[in-house]
Symmetry: C2
Subunit: 339 residues, 2 copies
């Protein structure tokens, strides 16, 4: 399977590291032999080599901050655009791992549409196109008989999308409710352990969970983006941020956390999608709710279904390797479907 990577930040590098370390296992155990033929980034440059780029050399060049450091090769082309590389007609799938833009989803959305038009399967970690225009992408992919996959966009490689869309395909899902932002769950866990909000936030930043500007996490917008994705994927609804009730954890004081604890409950930032809409809000849960015992940066989701009742999935929601793993899972699913 010949791949174009758009973006080569944390997720792209995590994916390349997995390919590097597991290539022989993937070939032997899964019959999967991927080749990265192109990589396009906004800041490091771009590379295209029809015979396949070397993952180790890609990672080493990325370390320098520029693909200029990638070794010369007679057939190597530098500085081609995504559009040019798609147009070269070599690749089987586009892996969209460039930074998420939840306002316009661009330029990723245009690249994804072009890739589908050109007959490429898609695997996205970039939330933008999935959150803002999943239904259009889905219609185009279906019309072309192509796979459109986005496991990485919600809970990293914890396989919520394959579970909801395939393993539970016989069930009607009535609601999805989860802890979909690890930073805020880490902060809430530390606050329950007695830490102040400011100290917990500072610790989350020191550990790399929270950005320097943590607003996207603590005000609920990151989780809200995932609600848009779930609304599209599970309920076929195209919602906008303005359709959601979104609040974060910034309004919670240590006293609130302590009050909940005294009542045998816990505050969790719960993101919810139903056929009727979606929300993100700090919510008191009884300890008997499986989501209540999810601590630290871990993510979790409960699907309410007609046939199975509640099914809960708990796992990592972020991380270089964990998100790269989701891309690999998507490509393996594409590979299975193609056989």
């Amino acid at each position: 399977m010949k791949l174009i990577l758009v973006g080569f930040g944390v997720v792209g590098q995590g994916f390349a590291e997995i390919l590097q370390s597991k290539a022989s296992w993937l070939s032997r155990e899964r019959g999967f032999v991927p080749t990265i033929v192109g990589v396009v980034t906004a800041t490091k440059g771009s590379l295209f080599l029809p015979d396949g780029l070397d993952s180790s050399a890609l990672l080493a060049a990325a370390e320098t901050g520029s693909f200029d450091a990638y070794p010369r090769h007679a057939d190597l082309r530098r500085d081609m655009s995504v559009s040019d590389i798609i147009g070269a007609g070599i690749a089987d799938a586009l892996v969209e791992v460039s930074p998420t833009n939840l306002d316009t989803a661009q330029p990723a959305l245009a690249n994804c549409l072009q890739a589908l038009d050109a007959g490429l399967h898609l695997a996205l970690a970039n939330k933008g196109p999935v959150a803002l225009d999943l239904l259009r992408l889905r219609a185009k992919a279906n019309a072309k008989g192509l796979q459109l996959r986005y496991e990485a966009t919600v809970m990293a490689g914890t396989p919520i999308m394959q579970m909801a869309e395939e393993a539970l395909a016989g069930c009607q899902i009535q609601a999805a409710r989860g802890i979909l932002n690890g930073t805020t769950n880490y902060i809430l866990t530390q606050m329950e352990n007695g830490m102040s909000y400011a100290d917990a936030l500072a610790q989350a930043q020191a550990l790399g969970y929270a950005e320097t500007d943590p607003a996207g996490d603590v005000e609920g917008w990151d989780a809200a983006g995932k609600v848009l994705i779930l609304a599209g994927a599970l309920f076929g609804r195209r919602l906008n941020m303005s359709d959601l009730d979104v609040s974060g954890i910034t309004g919670l004081a240590s006293d609130d956390i302590a009050d909940a604890k005294a009542a045998g409950e816990r505050y969790k930032l719960i993101a919810e999608a139903t056929p009727d809409g979606g929300s993100v809000a700090a919510t008191r849960l009884p300890l008997s709710n499986p989501l209540a015992s999810v601590s630290g940066a871990t993510n979790a989701i409960t699907l309410d279904t007609d046939l199975m009742g509640a099914v809960t999935l708990i796992g990592a929601g972020a991380g270089k390797r964990e998100t790269g793993s989701a891309i690999l899972a998507d490509l393996l699913a594409i590979n299975r479907a193609a056989r």
Copy 2:
């Protein structure tokens, strides 16, 4: 998709009820139009109708205890064997939902092997053939390009098998550890709430969780059968019961439960499979372990993986509709692969 059902007890009836209630949804939303062409049972008789049996009439006849009550039809044949119906060359898949025999797996194993030889896909709720001879069935299915699925055998329709074998196909699984028997988890939960073992067992029996002879549950053998299945499915190992360390909950006194509770821990009957073997044992878990908070008859499993760390799945582990749902999930996966 034309189906032969072997067995029509709780699981088979649960599956037929789902088909009856969701037929138009499955056709419209999933492009799945199943037809039951044959049903063979040990106690109710057998029916074969190439144009398809009527689910409502099947369920009504089963209520009487005999398929003699199924309405007459010119093309209907009664009392054919599984072998005869397979030999008729009409069916696409065999659904094995007859009672589990963990000693010999027969007669289900022979029927499954014959079905594969005849080019039929397989979906099993019967644990026997999967626990005792998965690797042989797998080799034959692979050689024939057929699907072999058994979601129902572990955790009913909670999709542990699709998660482990497909959604996490990029990960190497290092261990599977779970609460795989709902009866014992219900008893342990009630004992932690102060009930005696005898009272909790009686309540589990009154609720239909435990059999009149509860030995298979409380001595750990039901869970051990699932360890055999996980060992084969996840690690390609053919283990026998005698290879496992199996103990149940019969040795636990109320004092043990209370001691654990006082130490901030909980006893759970943990079934474990690793590449090195398997076990079933009552185990004290800290409350921070996601398995510790799984109460009542609910099941749960944690997979330790190389790329994703721990991934935990929590859901129903038994039930008519929940197990029937697993058969449906398997058939939908077969249907997807066939497209």
